[in-house]
């Protein structure tokens, strides 16, 4: 693959990769760092690319694996943070990134999605935000179709219940 092909085929995917990484590691600096590493890895393996039918899904898969690696290496630190976060009041608990720019209602959605289990969070990102097909999501997440649907169903169910009940009791 030439540099030109890299610029037209791979580089435009960077925002999707970035958002996906950001959804998992929740740090802009780290997410950006991950995307850089992904792109460099892709470039180094450019000979393999001719055999791939879906380059984008491949890039997303590398992003997922790298992000999970990073999470694993900082696992202890993160769980401590999460534990602290749940004790704090809802209003004061701000997400680590871009929270000030968001409307309150959206902050709540952000927090809600952040509180979902890892896989559900990934599925929501891939399906509801990036608009990938179920098959592509299987490919990216390396799980079967059934798992994808179960995770998506549970995620949407949790979101629905939380959005409706919190508002119903006026807790926003």
């Amino acid at each position: 693959m030439s540099l030109k092909a890299f610029k037209t085929q791979v580089l435009p995917v960077k925002d999707k990769l970035y958002r996906f990484a950001l959804r998992m590691v929740r740090s802009e600096v780290e997410a950006e760092d991950i995307v850089q590493e992904v792109l460099i890895r892709v470039w180094n393996k450019k000979e393999d690319m001719a055999r791939l039918e879906n380059v984008e899904a491949w890039c997303m898969r590398i992003t997922k694996n790298l992000s999970l690696d990073r999470l694993k290496s900082s696992y202890v630190k993160r769980t401590d943070q999460l534990a602290d976060g749940f004790d704090a009041s809802i209003e004061n608990e701000v997400t680590p990134y871009r929270s000030t720019e968001m409307k309150d209602t959206m902050k709540r959605v952000d927090k809600l999605i952040a509180s979902l289990p890892e896989k559900q969070r990934q599925v929501i990102q891939l399906r509801d935000m990036e608009g990938y097909s179920y098959k592509e999501i299987c490919d990216i997440m390396e799980i079967d179709m059934n798992q994808v649907k179960v995770n998506l169903f549970r995620a949407r169910k949790t979101i629905k219940e939380n959005l409706v009940t919190i508002n119903a009791y006026g807790l926003g």
């Binding site: 540099l3 970035y18 792109l39 871009r98 399906r127 508002n167």
Partner: protein, 170 residues
């Protein structure tokens, strides 16, 4: 827009039965300014989805950073050809040196092939024997001359012995 349709799509959405197009339709709908009150609880979700797509992007500065990190790669590929050339040049240089050296050595050899020391000096064995004896005699004479001089050193030895013995007596 048909609100009943949105209602139906939303139901399908929660059941995970919507297609990608239908989900897109929902997102577009809920990002309009005039959302009916009954969906006010739900609309932030789709607003959030849209907002996330719009705001979380990497600028062109990022592209440049990545591309500069990739840049060494094509340069290295060009380097491969250059490296091959250098390797070949190195081999060629060694070959050239060997050939030149061989030529000059051969030249020298041909020039001096007929010099006296390269061929036998005497034809007659007797004459050769006499000549050898003469040479050996000369060496022997010079050697003896040297030995005579060396004998004088023995005087120092004797003197040292005497002094030593003298010391012992004291």
């Amino acid at each position: 827009m048909d609100l009943d349709r949105i209602e139906r799509l939303l139901e399908k959405y929660w059941e995970c039965e919507t297609s990608l197009e239908e989900e897109k339709e929902l997102r577009v709908f809920f990002n309009r300014p005039d959302i009916p009150v009954k969906w006010k609880k739900i609309s932030p979700l789709f607003e959030y989805y849209e907002e996330e797509l719009q705001s979380n992007t990497l600028g062109s500065a990022f592209d440049e950073r990545v591309l500069t990190r990739l840049a060494p790669m094509p340069a290295e590929q060009k380097g491969k050809v250059r490296k091959l050339f250098y390797d070949l040049a190195r081999v060629a240089a060694v070959g050239l040196i060997v050939i030149t050296a061989t030529y000059f050595i051969r030249e020298q050899y041909m020039e001096h092939k007929d010099d006296p020391y390269m061929v036998d000096t005497f034809e007659d064995p007797r004459e050769a024997f006499e000549e050898t004896k003469k040479a050996l005699r000369m060496i022997s004479k010079n050697f003896n001359k040297g030995r005579k001089e060396a004998k004088k050193i023995g005087v120092f030895n004797n003197a040292r012995e005497k002094i030593k013995n003298g010391d012992n007596k004291l």
